[in-house]
Symmetry: C2
Subunit: 232 residues, 2 copies
DNA sequence: TCTGTAATTTCGGATAGACGAAATTCCTTA
DNA sequence: TAAGGAATTTCGTCTATCCGAAATTACAGA
């Protein structure tokens, strides 16, 4: 585990619109993997035209929420990062609450939280978190930022890159695609599951893996949605 | 109690924007008292300029959600009524859930629900309703429409007009103003409270009333926020 | 170094929603 | 019935967000 990171709080920041929160969250997400978020990557994630992203990125940069080097991509500033983590916390607390308390199926919670996260007040989110015992992870295994922006940013290897012959534990699964999530659920590929990669066919071929006791073959796309860590 | 009213379901209606839902809800609300919702009444309730309301009302009329006689006011069509009741159900289920399950103070639930009602899916609302045992009234005593648009529309007399010398039961209190709600709470003027009007000073003067066992004087503005029915 | 392709930005334009000022209509009252 | 005030609508504008088409830039490979 790497250090949890702490971001100082500069401004309380005026209320952001829903689209702005979505951009910041997407940039944060992309920056977990790449150094900067490119226009195309953002456009794809947000399902918008690249032209729209260009315009918004310029505006957000002028508001000090991110830095933008034309043709190079966007990087969150400290203020942007705080705003992104605030939205991420809302999202993941909501996912946890909906799944745990209200029994919303785990492949549906993402879409629902995606809308509610822009409307719920901070104090409501804190109430939900409290009711859940202030969880550190959401139902898909993603870490939940605290109220003051502390979050575990460990970058886990995906199942697609996990070394052959090695055992590991599923840390998290991507929550973006309900169909994929349903498939992973059927395979018992949930956070906490033990896996053991037996073989991987070359050229993006299927991966031969035991999940708990069951032996399975899974394709590279699904494997990329599953993040693994060495057994605890 | 008057007949619950039933509205047939014409169209599933495309998804409405948050402002549109707000307009429909406000018009429904105003129509509970007046025959048609005037531009000024809407502007005041929605805290918008009358010019803005004029424009929106015209648009909503062209979409078939309401009928508009220029200079005369707006009336919901069947389709508009259904949409309004759907939003009202969301609002009141959310209020109930937040207050009952999450312990949000009863004077805060309105504002929170006001934002969440546009984001929560129907199935989530139904889950919440189910968790509460499908309540018929929200924490302020307002009736909750069912999934298929049945709602009690009895028009209750307010405390300001309740006959002197008569006992009654508080049916509901207006949830719009948190400060007022806090005041009413301090007076124990909640749904279910027994009241007995002893005297009313003329010209909008104070009302002399017993609430439960306590004797109080309350002003006409607060009294207008409290709706009363003959004792059950 | 030159060049073609992919990524990005710019430009003009669209839509939803809101506003103030000015024009219009309604209705009461003299 | 004429006038004046109040309510309403119209008009021109503004902001936020989105788009397609055209122009620009970056960069890999010859």
């Amino acid at each position: 585990m790497s250090e949890p990171s702490r971001t100082p709080s500069p401004t309380p920041a005026a209320t952001l619109t829903a689209p702005v929160e979505d951009y910041l969250k997407a940039i944060y997400d992309i920056q977990q993997t790449s150094d900067a978020a490119t226009t195309n990557a953002l456009a794809e994630r947000l399902e918008l035209a690249p032209a729209s992203v260009s315009g918004m990125v310029r505006r957000l940069a002028s508001q000090g929420l991110l830095e933008h080097e034309p043709y190079r991509g966007a990087r969150l500033t400290a203020a942007g990062r705080i705003a992104a983590l605030r939205t991420l916390r809302r999202h993941r607390i909501l996912e946890s609450y909906l799944a745990t308390v209200l029994g919303v199926p785990w492949d549906d919670v993402h879409a629902e939280a995606e809308r509610l996260e822009h409307a719920a007040s901070d104090t409501l989110i804190d109430r939900m978190a409290h009711a859940l015992g202030d969880p550190l992870f959401d139902p898909h295994g993603a870490p939940i930022p605290t109220r003051d922006g502390v979050v575990d940013e460990t970058r886990h290897v995906t199942l697609a890159d996990w070394p052959v012959g090695t055992r590991g534990t599923v840390m998290s699964v991507s929550d973006k695609d309900p169909v994929m999530l349903r498939y992973l659920g059927e395979l018992e590929l949930r956070p906490g599951a033990m896996i053991h990669v037996l073989a991987r066919a070359p050229y993006d071929g299927p991966i031969d893996v035991t999940i708990g006791d069951a032996r399975r073959q899974i394709g590279p796309t699904a494997a990329r949605a599953v993040r693994i860590a060495r057994q605890a």
